[in-house]
C-alpha cells in the first residue's frame, strides 16, 4: 500500500534499494548508498551481501554506520579481512555484483568527481578524494550512483575524473570492465545510459516530478527517453523500516 507522505530523499533511497536483488554482492559506500543498501537488506533482499571497504564481509548492521569502519560493521560481519585483501581478493577479482557510489559531480557520461572543484593545483574546493571509488567503478558488475539532482552537481564535464563512467566522450570504458553505471538514482528520478552513446538519459521520474524540473537541475541539455516512466511510491512497509533504521541510527550517533 503506497504511503503518500514521504520526502524526496526517502523516495530516492527506496528507489535505489529496489535496484538491489536478493543475494547480490554489494560494495557499499558511506551515506546514501549505505542507507539504501541496508533498507534493501531489511525489506525485500534479506540475503543481500554487504561489503564495506574497511574489510567487513557479509555485515548486517542494526544501525547505519557513521563511518565506513564502525564497530557495528565489524561485530555483525561474517568475516573481517585486511584492507589490502578487500581490494585485491574481493573487489579487483570481480566478486562484486553491484558497486554503490555517490559523488560531488557527475557528467553526462556518468563520470564521477569526488576530488576537486576547480583546477587540481589550485582548487576552489578540495573534496575528500577517491577512496575506493575508482576501482569500484571499474570492477563491479554494475554501478549504481545515488545523488541529489542539483545543477551544480550534474555538469556537462566534471572538473576531475575520479571514477570512470563511460569516459569523457562516452567511449572510454574498456569492454573488459564491469558494465559501469546502469542507473543514476536521484531525488527527482532515474537516469540511465543510452545503450548506444552511453549518454545519461532520463528514463523515469518520481511521482509528482515534472521532466522540466529534472532538466532545470541538469547543467547540460538532458536527453529524455521517449516514454518516461513514473517510479512506484514507497510502500508503508518500506517507509516504516527506513524511518526506524534512521531513528535507531540517530540515537546511536547521539551517544
Amino acid at each position: 500500500m503506497p504511503d503518500t507522505t514521504y520526502t524526496a530523499d526517502e523516495m530516492m533511497t527506496v528507489t535505489a534499494s529496489r535496484h538491489l536483488a536478493d543475494g547480490a554482492v554489494c560494495f557499499v559506500g558511506i551515506g546514501l548508498p549505505s542507507e539504501a543498501a541496508n533498507l534493501a537488506r531489511l525489506t525485500h533482499a534479506p540475503n543481500l551481501v554487504l561489503i564495506y571497504e574497511s574489510g567487513t564481509i557479509g555485515t548486517r548492521p542494526l544501525t547505519l554506520p557513521l563511518s565506513i569502519g564502525d564497530d557495528e560493521l565489524a561485530m555483525t560481519a561474517l568475516s573481517v579481512v585486511s584492507v589490502p585483501e578487500i581490494f585485491a581478493y574481493w573487489l579487483q577479482a570481480g566478486r562484486i555484483d553491484v558497486g554503490f557510489l555517490s559523488a560531488a559531480q557527475i557528467d553526462r557520461f556518468g563520470n564521477l568527481n569526488s576530488t576537486v572543484i576547480g583546477p587540481y593545483e589550485r582548487p576552489q574546493v578540495r573534496l575528500p578524494g577517491a577512496g575506493g571509488a575508482p576501482e569500484i567503478a571499474a570492477a563491479a558488475g554494475q554501478v549504481l550512483v545515488m545523488l541529489r539532482q542539483k545543477k551544480r552537481m550534474f555538469v556537462g564535464t566534471v572538473d576531475f575524473v575520479t571514477s570512470v563512467g563511460f569516459g569523457r566522450d562516452g567511449t572510454g570504458r574498456p569492454a573488459s570492465w564491469g558494465a559501469g553505471p546502469t542507473a543514476v538514482i536521484t531525488d527527482l528520478g532515474i537516469l540511465r545510459p543510452d545503450p548506444a552513446t552511453h549518454e545519461l538519459t532520463l528514463t523515469a521520474v518520481h511521482p509528482g516530478v515534472e521532466v522540466e524540473q529534472v532538466r532545470n537541475e541538469t547543467d547540460w541539455n538532458l536527453r529524455v527517453a521517449p516514454e518516461v516512466e513514473v517510479t512506484e511510491q514507497p510502500t508503508t512497509d518500506e517507509l516504516v523500516v527506513l524511518r526506524e533504521l534512521k531513528q535507531r541510527t540517530e540515537e546511536a550517533h547521539r551517544r
Binding site: 570481480g94 571499474a138 573488459s176 564491469g178
Partner: protein
C-alpha cells in the same frame, strides 16, 4: 584472463540478477561427478594439514582422466591419483613424502612413464603461492623476488621476468594460477554453507577464490561459525560451489581440533607405493573396493586415529 565483473550476471528490468549463489550441500560423490571433468585443471590443496584425501579417492573411484593437478606439495594424495592413472600433468613445487622420502608413483611416472608419461610444471613454493594469490586477486600474474640464478626458469614457461617501473630492478613474474576446480577440506561449515578453517591454511583461500568452481569437504556442520584459534579463515558460502560433510575426509592428513596426522600411514605408504603391484592392490582394496569415505575409514580402522583428538563428526 577473465575480465573483472564480466559475464557474472545479467540485468533484467531494473534488477541485477546475480550468479553469486550460495554453496550447495551435496554428497562428495555428486560433487566430484558434477564439478570435475576429464581434462580439468584441479587444485586439491592443503599444506600437510587438511589435505582433501576423501575427494582424491572419489576422483580415482570415478576414473577421472587427463587431469592437470596443481599443489605446492603433491604429497601422497597426488601419488595415489598419478598411480591410478588420473593425471596428465602435475604443477608443483615440492613432490616428496614429507619426512619419509620419495613419492614413488610420481617418480615412476616421471622417470619411467608408468602408468603413462606425465608432464610436469615446476616452481618454488614462493612462486606457486604468488600464482595462486594472483589468481585470487584477478590479476594475470604475480611479482616476486625469486628464481634468479636457478635453473628453474629455463624449464618453466610460466616464469618470466619484468622490470620495476620505478627502480628498474629485474624481478620474477609468474602466471596466475586459476584452476577450473579447487578442492579443499575444512573444519567447519555453517548451515548456510559458509566455511571456517583454522591452523595452517596454506594457499586454500587463494585456491578457492581463484577457481571457477570449488568443492569443500568439512569435518562438521555447525549452526554458526565462531572464530577460534590463530588464523581463523572464512570463505563465504557464495564463494563456494559445493559442500560435503565428510568426517575425517583428510585422513591420513589431519584436521586441527579433530584428529592428528597419521604419521604411521605416511611411513607405510613408502612401502605400499614402492611396488606397482602393491600399490594397485591398495587402491583396489581401500579406494575402489569401498563405496565412499565411510567405507575407507572402516577399512583403515578407527584404531588409526588418535582417540583423544577425535570428536564425532
Amino acid at each position: 584472463m577473465a575480465p573483472p565483473g564480466a559475464g557474472r550476471g545479467s540485468e533484467v528490468g531494473s534488477v541485477w540478477h546475480t550468479d553469486a549463489v550460495l554453496a550447495q550441500f551435496t554428497t562428495l560423490r555428486e560433487a566430484v561427478a558434477d564439478l570435475i571433468g576429464d581434462g580439468d585443471t584441479v587444485a586439491m590443496e592443503g599444506f600437510t594439514h587438511l589435505i582433501p584425501f576423501a575427494a582424491g579417492h572419489e576422483v580415482i573411484r570415478q576414473e577421472k582422466r587427463d587431469l592437470v593437478v596443481s599443489r605446492l606439495t603433491p604429497d601422497v594424495i597426488y601419488d595415489q591419483m598419478i598411480g591410478a592413472g588420473c593425471v596428465r600433468k602435475v604443477i608443483f613445487s615440492w613432490g616428496g613424502n614429507p619426512g619419509v622420502g620419495s613419492l614413488h608413483r610420481l617418480r615412476d611416472a616421471v622417470e619411467n612413464g608408468y602408468p603413462h608419461p606425465i608432464e610436469i610444471e615446476e616452481h618454488s613454493h614462493a612462486g606457486m603461492a604468488a600464482r595462486y594469490a594472483a589468481g585470487a586477486a584477478g590479476l594475470p600474474f604475480g611479482v616476486l623476488r625469486a628464481y634468479a640464478g636457478t635453473d628453474l626458469a629455463a624449464h618453466t614457461s610460466t616464469i618470466r621476468t619484468l622490470a620495476c617501473p620505478f627502480t628498474g630492478e629485474e624481478l620474477a613474474a609468474v602466471a596466475a594460477l586459476s584452476p577450473d576446480v579447487a578442492v579443499i577440506h575444512a573444519q567447519q561449515a555453517d548451515r548456510a554453507g559458509n566455511i571456517g578453517m583454522w591452523g595452517i591454511t596454506g594457499v586454500q583461500k587463494e585456491a578457492v577464490l581463484g577457481a571457477r568452481r570449488s568443492i569443500v569437504t568439512v569435518e562438521e556442520v555447525v549452526e554458526e561459525l565462531v572464530p577460534l584459534g590463530s588464523n581463523f579463515v572464512v570463505l563465504p558460502s557464495w564463494t563456494v560451489t559445493a559442500v560435503a560433510h565428510v568426517p575425517h575426509g583428510c585422513h591420513p592428513s589431519y584436521a586441527l581440533g579433530f584428529s592428528t596426522r597419521d604419521n604411521r600411514f605416511y611411513v607405510e605408504w613408502d612401502e605400499i607405493s614402492r611396488d606397482r603391484a602393491t600399490f594397485d592392490e591398495w587402491i583396489d582394496q581401500y579406494v575402489n573396493g569401498v563405496d565412499d569415505h565411510a567405507g575407507y575409514l572402516r577399512m583403515v580402522g578407527e584404531s588409526r586415529f588418535e582417540p583423544g583428538h577425535l570428536r564425532d563428526g
